[in-house]
Amino acid sequence: MLYSVFIFNKFGTCIFHEDYNSGDQRKGVWVPTPKEANKFKLTAGLVHSVKHFILAVAKKEDLADGFFGLQTNSYKLHSFETATGYRMVMLTDTGVSFAEAKQPLREIYSNAFVEFVAKDPSYEHKKLCVITNTAFRDHLLVYLKQLSFFSTPAEELQH
């Protein structure tokens, strides 16, 4: 089951976040609250630190995709970083394999992000510029809903 999606820019700012399957329906444009801001900073810092930890520790030959996920008992974090420094992060339950999340993360980048954010003239690659484009949010939701693991809890997924 997909819990949420984060997108961070290269400055570590969370430019997009959405919770799914949590019961509340957010309306309108996404505006981060101060309470959420801390959570985003922590997540950004975590992804950044783990990535650099891996770079420092791993042997060069083993480093194919770099950091693509971490797992705890109750959830999994899947991450994909573009060459432009954008990080697409998904939080799911433990039923979703890392391999299965790879392609969706890339598709979020190429279908939703590139089309609705990179090409949006009102979005700028600046430190504090967040995604306010509702078309992006809607398109992303449509895409995510058709993923097999979107709302299927871990127990029901075949692995």
Binding site: H48, T82, A83, T84, V114
Partner: protein, 193 residues
């Protein structure tokens, strides 16, 4: 042996460029070229024929395009560039092909490997254009320099890009020189405000 490897890489990139070009949405070339021409003319009018200002404006416009184009380029072509040299070949064979429909050649590498030229035998932007004498200092396609600069900056290569020769001015080919200034490391920092 090294030469054969290089030729294989070049062919692989060319094929990648063609594949990426096929995936792109197409628009009518004449419409694009004529729109660009009108943009340049309008800029000249708005700036009272001040060619230096227009050159800079075209570069800025190109920069704003380039920072957006790079994500589309990355998502449609899987070319991992590990070195500056890789970015040169990728820009010429894949980038140019994807967005302009024509590929360029990389020539004249400097000794320190920090500078190269992109040669375009055919520049679609200048298809219907003629440069009158009073605009002889105008680099008509300067937008291309901005695009390359913006795109490379987003993948952490800070470069200086400028026209050297333009077929529109009677030269035998169109040449753009790209010079590496520095490689920018990750900009991640926590804002404390």
């Amino acid at each position: 042996m090294a030469m054969q490897g290089q030729r294989r890489d070049a062919m692989a990139l060319t094929r990648q460029g063609e594949r990426a070009f096929e995936k792109m949405e197409k628009i009518n070339a004449e419409l694009f070229v004529v729109t660009y021409g009108s943009l340049v003319m309008q800029l000249l009018q708005d700036n009272s024929d001040n060619v230096d200002v227009v050159n800079k404006e075209l570069d800025t416009i190109g920069y704003n395009i380039g920072v957006r184009l790079i994500d589309e380029y990355l998502s449609k072509s899987m070319t991992p560039c590990k070195s500056f040299k890789d970015t040169a070949e990728a820009t010429a064979k894949v980038g140019f092909k994807m967005f302009l429909g024509v590929s360029a050649h990389v020539h004249n590498w400097s000794e320190d490997g920090k500078s190269y030229s992109l040669i375009l035998e055919d520049n679609p932007l200048t298809t219907f254009a003629e440069l009158p004498d009073r605009y002889s200092d105008l680099w008509y396609s300067n937008v291309l320099c901005g695009v390359i600069r913006g795109a490379l900056e987003m993948v952490s290569w800070k470069v200086e890009v400028a026209f050297v020769k333009d077929q529109l001015k009677g030269a035998d080919c169109t040449e753009i020189r790209v010079t590496l200034l520095k490689q920018v490391s990750e900009a991640f920092r926590q804002d404390d405000d």
